[in-house]
Amino acid sequence: MLKLIALLVISVISVSASPGVQRSESKLRSDCAKFVKSLDQPMHATARQLSGDELGGKPDGANFEGRPTYQIGQLRYFGAGVEATSTDRRFSKVRVFADQGAMHDCGYRVNFWPGPWNMLLGDVSSAAFRFERGRVTKPRTGTPGKAPASGPSPVITNFVSGARWPLSKSDGTIDFVQLMHPKNGSSETLIVRLDNSRSTVRTSILGKLPVRFQAIGLVPNLHSSGRMMNLVGKDPNGPYRSIVLQMPDGV
């Protein structure tokens, strides 16, 4: 009987971890061990301000903080956007997750400086990616930014749902803004709003961006109309992008 159980166990192991997978995991562990030794070394980067044209915006004749604004659907871009690249080999292992933001494949969060707001001041000096100490061993749960597994979800032909963020309303109820990505994998992002207050959830498209953003967050705009929408993204083998869009009141 014991022999039979042992055979079954060996059989399960051989199915769940083929030699190829074992080699891959072993290499990843080895690579990550090397990576951890370099945690304190920043990845030096080159950064530049993203223009409204690059984001598919159209000048609307208005301004924000004295900067011309661009209309992107119902949203506004005013120059708070940065694109950064690095020749550091670790950069290719950085990805942006809906719930964690920028992370290295070995499980460490990545912070970039200067942020998009600093682009308004023309500050691109000391551009670098830095790793947070403290490995993220499991995804957060219940954290905004992650597309929920359940609940209403927008249906737009040839697009799939991405990151989501709650949007509070004056009656205490919550709507959502959500990113959507083309099924064909092309670098494009739809930003939609889910109106959760009706029996039938309504979806409206707030804007369309010609580049990929995988993470979204909203912060109150204490200083002028609406909220500020933070978007972060990175194409595989492509640059890192972080932008701020103004989401006017009533949108």
Partner: protein, 272 residues
Amino acid sequence: MNLRHNDGAPQFSTGRWQPEVDDTFDIILKSSTATEPPAGDTIVVTGTRTSGGGIVWSHATGGDPGGLTGPTGEITPPNDGEPPPPDESEIIITVQLNRTLTASEQQVLQNLQNAISAVDAAIRSLADNARITLYDGSTVTGAELKALWSKTDFTVNPDNTYYGTTNPQNRGAAILNGGDPQVFVNMWVLTDYAAHPDNSGLNYFVGHELGHLTQANQNHDGTAPDAAMRYEQMANDISRAIANSAGISVLPSEGTSAPTYGYSTPSALQFI
């Protein structure tokens, strides 16, 4: 810190008040509604901003620099002129909503209370002579923060409460109020900040408004280029420095939770 009540409006202080699901909050402005306060109850802004006393606005804009250089005025306290209570030993949060709060809003208020407690502990632990140096060379000391914080109270207003006449907006304000600082904020603003992980948004908010009350922020040169942005970044820098001194979460410099206007440095300013 003790639970306090005033005119039937629920007020709570750190550590004691526990919201109940069915709580209904009366409004001090008794004739107001949540959606459209009557003109008589609208917070009035008149007068001139001074440095070192009186009025501090946290809501200047580039288009209308009212809070920086122009007339901004005083905000009439919402209890119709009654003198604010002497409260050096208390931090009072007055909730002025006249509708039943949702469960998530009640949690938001609990989280605000937690944020105030965390910032309170951070400020209390600062040495009086601890100081940070801001981007323009001005400084903020532990003693100044303690003095401001010791009298600062908070009021949560309905979402369509407006602040200001030269720059009316429906978000909030921080005022020195003759040495008895008051922070006003509308409910949706708190809810939005509360959506960020680890209470970082509300921790940030509390420190940011306190940052606006400091002398360095009041004395900021409102005529300088990018004045509004620098003015807000400075308040952000102060907020992050306070949080960092106690190891509490605060909105990061970049990413999906980055605060409006960002920070002036890659990492937090250090109290030395």
